[in-house]
């Protein structure tokens, strides 16, 4: 049996169903925190600047991978497609899953008139995922730019859900 993989947007009805996948890749993630974090991603900022969460589902409708995306203005490239929170479980045969995930992102980027794609992988397991990086390179992606990261000590704003709120006046990149 060869499964059919289909990209579908995550919506409020299916956000809970995606939780087991997220929990698998992000240990300690609670269902409440997942829902609280991603619910705003399901609403676009404006029709011209869409954002959302794309899932890859099998024929039975089970969610096998997902990523968050957003179309942003870029000084150099005009419109750029950002994808992050890329979650692809380590399953045998996952290169097929990777190909579907990347393919879905590229189609979405083209549909939105984007001239480039940024795929962001934060620290931890994703960085050491050689299969993932190999798949990206084969699809024409290359490391670009420099991003530095500094964890700030939480002084205030924590509300007990593990999510650190940005200080007033900071911007949403």
């Amino acid at each position: 049996m060869v499964d059919t993989l289909t990209p579908r947007f995550l919506d409020r009805r299916t956000i809970d169903k995606a939780y087991p996948l997220v929990r698998n890749v992000v240990p300690g993630m609670t269902a409440a925190r997942w829902t609280q974090f991603f619910r705003p991603h399901l609403v676009p900022r404006s029709p011209d600047w869409p954002r959302g969460v794309m899932t890859i589902q099998n024929a039975a409708g089970y969610i096998l991978s997902l990523f968050a995306f957003e179309v942003r203005a870029d000084l150099h490239e005009s419109r750029v497609f950002y994808m992050d929170h890329i979650i692809v479980p380590n399953l045998p045969g996952r290169r097929t899953l990777w190909a579907s995930t990347i393919g879905a992102a590229e189609r979405l980027a083209e549909m939105n008139g984007c001239r480039a794609i940024w795929a962001e992988f934060r620290g931890g397991a994703e960085c050491s995922d050689t299969d993932l990086l190999t798949s990206l390179e084969r699809s024409g992606y290359a490391p670009a730019g420099v991003r530095h990261f500094k964890r700030l000590e939480a002084k205030s704003g924590g509300v007990g859900d593990g999510v650190t709120r940005p200080a007033r006046g900071s911007y949403d990149a």
Partner: protein, 258 residues
């Protein structure tokens, strides 16, 4: 802990399970245990050609897991992945406060071995004496490179743990205990039919406590719900953990919240 039990060498004591056979080493007319595998039709091996089957069998070992024995523990190095060929397995995660959350039940034909960061994402335990095909993960991945179309086929089967956990999320989203329990029974019935077994009577090898854990209910509530369903003639409790479903359409209506 029991990671030593997974070594291929048999010098150490292997109490939890016994290695049955290396597939390629079978004598005479039996080319491999795959030839007599009852789960083959419903497992990842089903669509393989004879040659592919042979190559897969060459890296496979059959293992028997005793009743209630662990197969692997969450966060332990994931050296192997498995296909269940007989029996029932529960998969669970340990929560931060030490509690256990059962996230799914897997059956013959299902694939086992979801990995995070080179370690098992869940713990797995045999609910009944269980037989597994065990594949060294690295060697299996190497084989997938050599046989690319096997990769797609395997992916279709390898998402069972995720699917079971997503089924659970749908169940937990239902409001009443009664709806959850009935949905669970029907889910097992449907799963049995998908795997070529009769859906009625349905086999429930798990304890009331395990069902409660899976459904987010107390054991007492699960027991009360079963008793209530029995009194209403919606289910009949048979011997050996089987349940007959004489009013299937009524059960479906309950599961849908009518």
């Amino acid at each position: 802990m029991h990671s030593s039990a997974f070594r291929d060498d048999t010098n150490g004591a292997i109490s939890r399970f016994s290695l049955v056979a290396r597939a390629g080493a079978h004598p005479l007319h039996l080319a491999s245990p795959c030839d007599t595998c009852q789960a083959r039709e419903f497992s990842a091996c089903a669509p393989l050609t004879a040659e592919e089957q042979k190559r897969l069998a060459a890296i496979m070992r059959t293992v028997n897991i005793k009743l209630h024995c662990p197969i692997f523990d969450e966060a332990y190095p994931a050296e192997y992945v498995y296909t269940i060929t007989a029996g029932t397995v529960k998969v669970y995660k340990l929560l931060g406060d030490g509690r256990r959350q059962i996230t799914g039940f897997l059956f013959a034909g299902d694939f086992l071995g979801l990995i995070h960061n080179e370690a098992y994402a869940y713990s797995a335990e045999a609910l009944v004496p269980t037989r597994l095909c065990r594949f060294p993960r690295r060697r299996l991945e190497a084989l997938l490179v050599e046989i690319p179309h096997l990769e797609q086929r395997l992916l279709a089967m390898a998402s069972h743990e995720l699917a079971a956990a997503q089924d659970q999320m749908v169940l937990l989203g239902r409001k009443s205990a009664r709806e959850r329990v009935v949905s669970f029974i029907l889910m097992l019935s449907n799963s049995a039919m998908r795997h070529g077994r009769p859906g009625d009577p349905v086999f429930l090898p798990m304890s009331r406590s395990d069902i409660a854990d899976y459904l987010g209910l107390t054991t007492e509530t699960v027991s009360r719900t079963f008793t209530s369903l029995k009194k209403q003639g919606l289910i009949e409790l048979l011997d050996d953990k089987r349940i007959r479903l004489p009013r299937m359409s009524a059960l479906r209506e309950i599961a849908e919240g009518f």
